[in-house]
């Protein structure tokens, strides 16, 4: 390559960087100064999908002109997204460990508040065709068991429960979030999965839930917090308050969560 063309490449790079920079800086003041039509972006654990979607609608109704958008996924995925700078206002995690990833990075406003707890059950196809009664039944030969990945709260809880029960289990897959684990059972591809009690309830008969005693030793706290990156900090704070309000708590408990 000739020197001249090298110079032109450099110039183009400089110009393009300038243009891109100008774009991003010019857009920020307009969106932060918006008055009425505000959007609240909530990143929430996959196990909160059904309740938070409903609660979001109620929050919108109580705050006219507000639009609440959700991104549900494995808490560890979401935590990483926030640390990498995802534009979000509120984070609701399924474990203190995943919330800690975010607060350690200095991305959280104040101290995260625990708003519910959740407990594991064994999800099996309707009617429990394999006759599973407890964790030790999951090691039966030929049984296909799906867990959440160790990094995801439901996976961490599952490991805790299995250790408490002294059961050594080799799953066929470690899924990205609890809904993915659940779907493998409701699709009929897996014989059992360790998921939350709330997920079985939300699946409305597509799976049955088998309670087991060791789950008491692996109860997950769900923390929620407003995020520093929020462009609507007041609204974010209001949403965090709303989730802890008696009205929201009642709905969460009706969905199978436990009071903190």
């Amino acid at each position: 390559m000739r020197i001249r063309s090298l110079v032109s490449v450099g110039l183009v790079a400089l110009v393009s960087a300038g243009v891109l920079g100008a774009c991003s800086s010019s857009s920020s003041p307009s969106s932060s100064s918006s008055t009425k039509n505000q959007t609240l972006t909530v990143l929430a654990a996959a196990s909160l999908t059904d309740t938070f979607t409903q609660l979001g609608k109620e929050f919108e109704a109580a705050h006219p002109g507000t639009k609440v958008t959700f991104s549900f996924g494995g808490s560890s995925t979401l935590a990483q997204q926030i640390v990498q700078g995802a534009p979000a206002d509120v984070f609701a995690a399924a474990s203190p460990a995943t919330m800690k990833t975010v607060s350690d990075a200095g991305d959280v406003v104040g101290t995260p508040a625990v708003f519910v707890k959740n407990q594991l059950v064994i999800a099996v196809p309707p009617g429990n065709p394999k006759g599973i009664q407890g964790l030790s039944d999951l090691t039966k030969p030929g049984l296909k068991v799906v867990l959440c990945d160790d990094a995801v709260p439901c996976g961490a809880a599952a490991q805790k429960a299995l250790t408490a029960a002294n059961v050594k289990l080799t799953p066929v897959s470690k899924e990205q979030d609890v809904k993915a684990a659940l779907s493998k059972v409701s699709l009929g591809e897996a014989d059992a999965a360790l998921v939350y009690r709330t997920d079985v309830k939300a699946a409305k008969g597509q799976v049955d839930g088998i309670e087991f005693p060791e789950s008491a030793q692996a109860i997950n706290d769900y923390p929620i917090a407003a995020l520093k990156a929020s462009k609507a900090p007041d609204l974010a704070n209001q949403f965090v308050q709303f989730i802890q309000s008696p009205q929201a708590q009642q709905e969460l408990i009706a969905a199978g969560f436990q009071a903190p």
Partner: protein, 276 residues
């Protein structure tokens, strides 16, 4: 056939090569930057100091080996079944051919996750075909290494088919006709004349196919799940590493994947690829 390199060697400036107008040069350079900057980012952010320990983690090596094995197996599957499909599409005429061609290339544009769901409905335990495998042989495909290979072959085969079909169409048919007049059977003609003729196309298709299989993520994680040693290929491992405490190892491993792919491309171009 004159190759561009041959023309360039001439003393006179070749009228085919000239400076691009600024209206094309500027977006072209921007486009190149767009493609190259992320790779540069990997290089800059890679944890060079402890890259050795990151790359030799047993779990990473397991994932890499699984990726290499499954990508090679799925590419072999694609060659065995893809070349005949390409032949049918390029050299024969049958009813509904255009629809078949469109359907065959569908996995190319389909979101891989959708491919994974589709594979479930076909080969899953309750799938159209998988149901009978389970009932007759007690065999279920999901969550096995075979499922990884199947997922990879499903998304990668169109690359091979398109490349080989294109080569077949461009190949000079007179050689085949000559072989036929000399008494060669159609199978012999295919083996001894047609295949060597389209060799470069097959190689190019194989490389693309293998690279696509190496990079397969969506269909794999959906249909085959994610478990170390059986279904956790390199892309799945990188994804998990990015989420757990150690994003740096994800960067290092991504770099390794890039290096493997670049090495394969370079090696094949240097050896026998007549393309480009």
């Amino acid at each position: 056939m004159t190759r561009p390199s041959a023309a360039r060697r001439g003393r006179e400036p070749d009228p085919g090569f000239r400076r691009a107008p600024a209206a094309l040069a500027v977006p072209a350079i921007l486009g190149l930057l767009f493609l190259l900057l992320p790779l540069l980012g990997l290089l800059v952010r890679a944890p060079w100091r402890r890259i050795g320990t990151v790359l030799t983690q047993p779990a990473a090596l397991t994932a890499l080996r699984l990726s290499l094995e499954t990508a090679t197996a799925s590419t072999a599957l694609c060659l065995v079944f893809g070349i005949p499909v390409a032949y049918l599409l390029a050299r024969t005429r049958f009813w509904g051919q255009r629809a078949v061609r469109a359907l065959v290339t569908l996995p190319l544009v389909l979101p891989p996750v959708v491919g994974g769901v589709a594979l479930f409905t076909a080969y899953g335990r309750t799938g159209v075909v998988g149901k009978w495998w389970d009932r007759w042989f007690g065999y279920t495909m999901p969550f096995t290494t075979t499922a990884v290979v199947v997922a990879q072959a499903f998304v990668a085969m169109p690359f091979l088919i398109i490349a080989v079909e294109g080569a077949l169409r461009a190949a000079d048919r007179r050689f085949e006709e000559a072989a036929a007049t000399l008494g060669a059977s159609r199978w012999t003609t295919f083996r001894r004349v047609t295949l060597p003729l389209v060799g470069p196309g097959v190689v190019a298709g194989t490389v693309l196919c293998w690279a696509r299989a190496m990079g397969e993520f969506g269909a794999t994680i959906t249909f085959a799940g994610n478990f170390e040693g059986t279904t956790q290929t390199m892309p799945l491992y990188v994804y998990r590493a990015l989420e757990t405490a150690d994003p740096n190892s994800a960067i290092a491993l991504s770099l390794l994947l890039v290096a493997v792919c670049v090495a394969v491309l370079v090696a094949l171009r240097g050896r026998w690829a007549g393309v480009g």
